[in-house]
């Protein structure tokens, strides 16, 4: 065991004190402050919401974040590109494959590494399976937050199928290290392809089940329709991306707007809805799962033969000097990486522009005037992953 860092510049080594809550009142019997979190019944991680309530109506919602801050960006400045690579899956662990491979894609663009065709297709299958898995988990936990416990079990059951498929080829269920600079770690075999094909058939058979279980339910509809509206103008002001933006009627998807990783050759739609409420966000995500199935089908069909990775494992990078930006579409929106390089093997700076950061910042405005019981419904429908916000 190593000693704790007793550096005098880190005053937080002192024993922790209990946090103080805001106690101020407006002198009015109807107004009070409610603290929700950072530990709370909802399934959405360590988020603290300071709510100023008037009766049951929320006047002000102030999110307090930072409880999952793990110093990713500082680590990026102190670690080489290869040493930082395991962090990438853990930034947003529900889109772990997309982030992991996205980091590799950024490095490949910056350093001009070739990626074989087979690896491009394998990456697309893995990333889209990851996207489906994230949406399934979102669906289960969102319904659980609203109060419907049953879909959680069905969604996790389907999700386990995906995790089994990816586990078999990559070795991990959640935090992957499947990408390499120049390809992927291991090749996929026929078992992987048949498992993926069988899963697509299974999932498509489950969509009617989910629709029947969820969409007709009067409680679900009452708690989703018209609740937590994020409209087009608000989305623009906050830089909201992903399903939250597409539910507001804006068809922005990084895979179409700034195609990367082979997506320009695939045929898929970007589903949008107009209402911008919780139901619209639900419908967009369900529709996206079907589109991801389409992409996987096409990738499996045209999977070319060839190499799956670089000839030699690249350990030390010599990137060009300058500033670079690379964006991918994660399950939550645009994940952008801003890299400043001085030619050495350690980045000067790596800023992680994560989608949940912008999406959550819109929540205080989306919640103003709604009821306190809608807080969890809106938070759930935005689909945030706290470690991605806090980095």
């Amino acid at each position: 065991m190593t000693a704790p860092t007793d550096s005098p510049t880190l005053p937080m080594n002192a024993p922790p004190q209990a946090p103080t809550l805001v106690q101020a009142h407006d002198g009015d019997d109807e107004t009070y402050y409610l603290n929700m979190g950072p530990q709370h019944p909802s399934m959405h991680g360590v988020l603290r919401l300071l709510l100023k309530l008037r009766g049951e109506r929320i006047e002000v919602c102030d999110p307090v974040i930072g409880y999952a801050h793990r110093a990713h960006e500082k680590m990026a400045e102190n670690r080489s590109y290869v040493q930082f690579y395991p962090n990438t899956s853990r930034i947003d662990y529900l889109s772990g494959m997309i982030y992991n491979i996205g980091y590799c894609q950024m490095i490949e663009k910056v350093c001009s590494y070739e990626v074989p065709e087979r690896a491009v297709a394998i990456r697309i299958i893995a990333c889209e399976l990851n996207r489906i898995q994230s949406h399934l988990l979102w669906l289960g936990t969102y319904l659980m937050d609203i109060g419907g416990i049953t879909p959680f079990l069905y969604c996790f059951d389907d999700r386990e199928e995906i995790l089994g498929i990816l586990d078999r080829v990559s070795g991990s269920r959640l935090t992957y290290a499947y990408g390499r600079f120049g390809g992927v770690t291991r090749d996929v075999d026929d078992v992987f392809l048949s498992q993926a094909t069988a899963f697509l058939a299974r999932l498509r058979g489950r969509f009617p089940l989910y629709a029947k279980l969820v969409e007709g339910n009067v409680i679900f509809r009452e708690r989703s329709i018209g609740v937590g509206v994020i409209d087009r103008a608000m989305a623009m002001r906050y830089g909201v991306t992903g399903p939250c933006l597409r539910a507001a009627g804006v068809g922005y998807d990084v895979r179409k707007a700034e195609p990367y990783g082979g997506y320009e050759d695939y045929d898929f739609d970007v589903p949008t809805r107009e209402a911008g409420d919780c139901l619209a966000r639900y419908e967009v995500r369900v529709a996206e799962m079907e589109q991801s199935c389409r992409i996987i089908e096409q990738a499996i069909e045209r999977l070319p033969e060839g190499a799956f990775g670089p000839k030699k494992f690249i350990k030390k990078l010599k990137p060009p000097v300058g500033e670079f930006y690379f964006a991918v579409e994660s399950a939550r929106g645009q994940f952008g990486m801003y890299l400043v390089s001085d030619g050495k093997d350690i980045p000067v700076k790596l800023k992680l522009r994560t989608p949940s950061f912008a999406n959550l910042s819109s929540m205080s405005e989306a919640l103003a005037g709604t009821m306190v019981a809608d807080t969890i419904a809106v938070l759930g429908s935005i689909d945030v992953v706290m470690p991605e916000i806090d980095r």
Binding site: S7, N78, R237, E264, K351, F357, E365
Partner: protein, 157 residues
């Protein structure tokens, strides 16, 4: 796949200089440098034209250039058109200040708070300039280059 033409924007008088940009190399469609005095009007021009504020971040360049460099990127939803604006602000921490654009783009509210938290750059007229990620009682700015360096760690850590 051909890209639909992005709308042009007139930034005369708002940016100090517009540079060569090569999207295929570095991911930016346009590169500009600007002075800190014009940042609010620049952000307003982008917002009026339909760009959203994608990212605001900061770099600690005090060692080489005795300045902090702020980096703003603006992008569009209808067609990808990323403008990056670099703003150099000479000075030390504490001391470096710039006007806040949170009144123009709500996205900048939290982005600027994070820069204040991590770098110590102050944003004047920010509605709520408090720490965002570090504990409220932290007395350091985490991403400054002279803080928390690996080589300064105690032996045996």
């Amino acid at each position: 796949m051909s890209r639909a033409a992005a709308p042009t924007i007139d930034l005369a008088g708002l940016v100090a200089q517009t540079h060569e940009a090569d999207y295929g190399v570095d991911g930016f469609h346009h590169r500009h440098t600007a002075d800190s005095e014009s940042i609010v009007r620049l952000a307003e021009a982008f917002a009026r034209g339909g760009w959203f504020c994608e990212m605001v971040t900061c770099e600690d360049r005090r060692a080489d250039e005795r300045a902090m460099r702020l980096v703003y990127t603006f992008n569009r939803f209808d067609v990808a058109d990323r403008h990056v604006v670099f703003v150099m602000i000479p000075g030390e921490i504490p001391g470096v200040e710039i006007a806040s654009i949170a009144g123009v783009s709500s996205a900048a509210n939290w982005l600027e708070r994070e820069i204040y938290d991590m770098y110590g750059v102050r944003f004047t007229d920010h509605p709520n300039l408090q720490r965002l990620l570090l504990p409220e009682d932290a007395d350091f700015h985490a991403l400054l280059k002279d803080f928390g360096r690996v080589e300064d760690a105690e032996a045996g850590s």
